[in-house]
C-alpha cells in the first residue's frame, strides 16, 4: 500500500471530531428519523470527504458543512416513504439505555410535539427555524448555509414562528 499523504487543512478527521455530534443533532432536528440518523450522517461525511479538496475556504467551514447537512437531509425527507412515515412517527425513541435515556416523560412529550409541528412546516421554513432557533446560527450564517438572502431567511423564520405559535394556541384552546 502506498504511504498516504497528510490530510490538508482542515483535515477530514478534524472536521469529523469537531462536528459529528452536532451533525447528528442537526439532522435529527431537520427531520431525519431516529432510526436513520447514522445512515444519513454517514452520507453527510462521505460527501464532506469527497468534496473537502474543493472546499478551499470559499465560505466558512460551518456553513459549508451544514449546507451539506441541509441538502442531505432534504434528500432524505423527499423520499416518499420517509414523508409518509414521518408524521406517524411518535416518540423520539432513543436506543441509548444510558443516562440520557433517563428523562422526564413531560420532556419527551414536548419534544414529540415540537417534532410534529416541525414536520408540518415546509422544508424551507423548518430549516431556517432549526438553524437559527435551535442551532443558534446567526442569520448571516443561515443565509450563507442556504444560499439565500438574509431577508428571505428572516421571512421564513417569522413565518415558522407564526405557524408554531398558532398551532400551539389552537392546541391549548382545544384542551381547555
Amino acid at each position: 500500500m502506498e504511504p498516504q499523504p497528510a490530510a490538508p487543512d482542515p483535515g477530514f478527521e478534524e472536521i469529523y471530531e469537531a462536528h459529528a455530534s452536532r451533525v447528528l443533532r442537526t439532522l435529527r432536528r431537520l427531520g431525519v428519523r431516529e432510526a436513520d440518523l447514522e445512515d444519513v450522517a454517514q452520507e453527510v461525511f462521505v460527501v464532506v470527504h469527497r468534496k473537502l479538496p474543493e472546499f478551499a475556504g470559499r465560505s466558512s467551514l460551518k456553513t459549508w458543512l451544514f449546507g451539506i447537512c441541509v441538502r442531505v437531509a432534504s434528500g432524505f425527507r423527499q423520499r416518499a416513504h420517509v414523508q409518509r412515515e414521518s408524521l406517524g412517527e411518535t416518540a423520539p425513541e432513543r436506543a441509548n439505555s444510558g443516562e440520557l435515556a433517563v428523562r422526564s416523560i413531560a420532556l419527551k412529550q414536548a419534544r414529540v410535539q415540537l417534532d410534529a409541528l416541525l414536520d408540518r412546516l415546509d422544508e424551507d421554513k423548518r430549516t431556517v427555524f432549526v438553524l437559527f432557533e435551535l442551532e443558534q446560527f446567526s442569520m448571516a450564517e443561515v443565509g450563507e448555509t442556504l444560499g439565500v438572502p438574509q431577508q428571505t431567511a428572516w421571512s421564513r423564520l417569522y413565518a415558522a414562528r407564526k405557524f408554531i405559535e398558532a398551532a400551539v394556541s389552537r392546541h391549548a384552546e382545544a384542551i381547555e
Partner: protein, 223 residues
C-alpha cells in the same frame, strides 16, 4: 448579533418555551456516536477526495474500535470534539502496509455512496467493526483499557476508584475530559452532589467550550 434575538429571548409563550426547551434531549446517543464513528472510520484513514478504504483494518482500526466502544460505554458523547487540550484521543497514523497486509479480513466496513437512492429498510445500526485484536500495541491501549474498566465497573465507587487511578497514571491524558465526565457521573450516582458539581465546575473552567458540558449538566440535574 445583538439584534438577532432568539424566540426564547423575545418572550415566547410558556408553551412555546416548553417545546423549544425540550430540544435539550436532542444530543445524539452514545450508540449513535459509536455507530457513526465505526462507519466513518475508513474515511478517516483515507485522504479527502480519494476513495475510502473498505475496512478499518490494522492497528488504527483497532484503536478506533476501542475508542468507539469506550465512548459508548462511558456515556461520554462526542469526546472527539475537543482538540485544544493535548493530542487527539485517537491517533490515526496511516496504517503501514505491513499492518494492513496482516489485518484480519472479517470486519469489512462498507461506506455507502453519497445520497443518490434511498437505502433499503434495514435494522437500525450496522454492527461496529469488531477487529479481533491481539495484544495491546502501546501504552495508549493501557490508558484506554483502564478508562474502559472504569466505565464498565459494577458500582460508582469502583468507577471512581478506577478514574482516580487513571488520573494518577495518566495525568496528561488526552482522554481527560471523558475521564472527568465519568467522575462526575459516578459522584452523582453516589449522591455526592456537591463534589459532582465542584468537579463539573472545574471541568467547565478548564474546557469552557467542550461539547461535554451539556452532558455534564444533565448528569447534575438527572444523575
Amino acid at each position: 448579533m445583538s439584534t438577532e434575538r432568539r424566540w426564547l429571548d423575545e418572550g415566547a409563550s410558556p408553551e412555546v418555551t416548553r417545546l423549544l426547551e425540550s430540544t435539550v434531549i436532542d444530543e445524539p446517543s452514545l450508540e449513535q456516536l459509536k455507530s457513526l464513528r465505526a462507519r466513518v472510520a475508513p474515511l478517516l484513514e483515507t485522504p479527502p477526495g480519494a476513495a475510502p478504504a473498505t475496512a478499518a483494518a490494522g492497528v488504527a482500526g483497532k484503536i478506533l474500535t476501542v475508542l468507539a466502544l469506550l465512548a459508548l460505554g462511558a456515556g461520554l458523547g462526542s469526546w472527539f470534539s475537543q482538540k485544544d487540550e493535548g493530542p487527539a484521543p485517537a491517533p490515526l497514523p496511516p496504517a503501514p502496509a505491513t499492518v494492513v497486509a496482516v489485518a484480519p479480513p472479517a470486519p469489512v466496513l462498507v461506506i455507502a455512496p453519497p445520497v443518490v437512492t434511498p437505502p433499503p429498510p434495514r435494522p437500525r445500526a450496522a454492527p461496529p467493526p469488531v477487529v479481533p485484536a491481539p495484544a495491546p500495541v502501546n501504552t495508549g491501549d493501557e490508558e484506554l483499557e483502564l478508562l474502559q474498566a472504569a466505565m464498565s465497573a459494577g458500582t460508582p465507587t469502583e468507577t471512581l476508584s478506577l478514574v482516580e487511578q487513571h488520573v494518577a497514571r495518566f495525568p496528561a491524558s488526552s482522554l481527560a475530559q471523558e475521564r472527568e465526565v465519568l467522575a462526575v457521573q459516578a459522584l452523582s450516582k453516589l449522591g455526592r452532589s456537591a463534589d459532582a458539581r465542584t468537579r463539573a465546575d472545574a471541568f467547565k473552567e478548564r474546557w469552557p467550550t467542550s461539547t461535554h458540558l451539556l452532558r455534564l449538566q444533565s448528569l447534575l440535574t438527572d444523575p
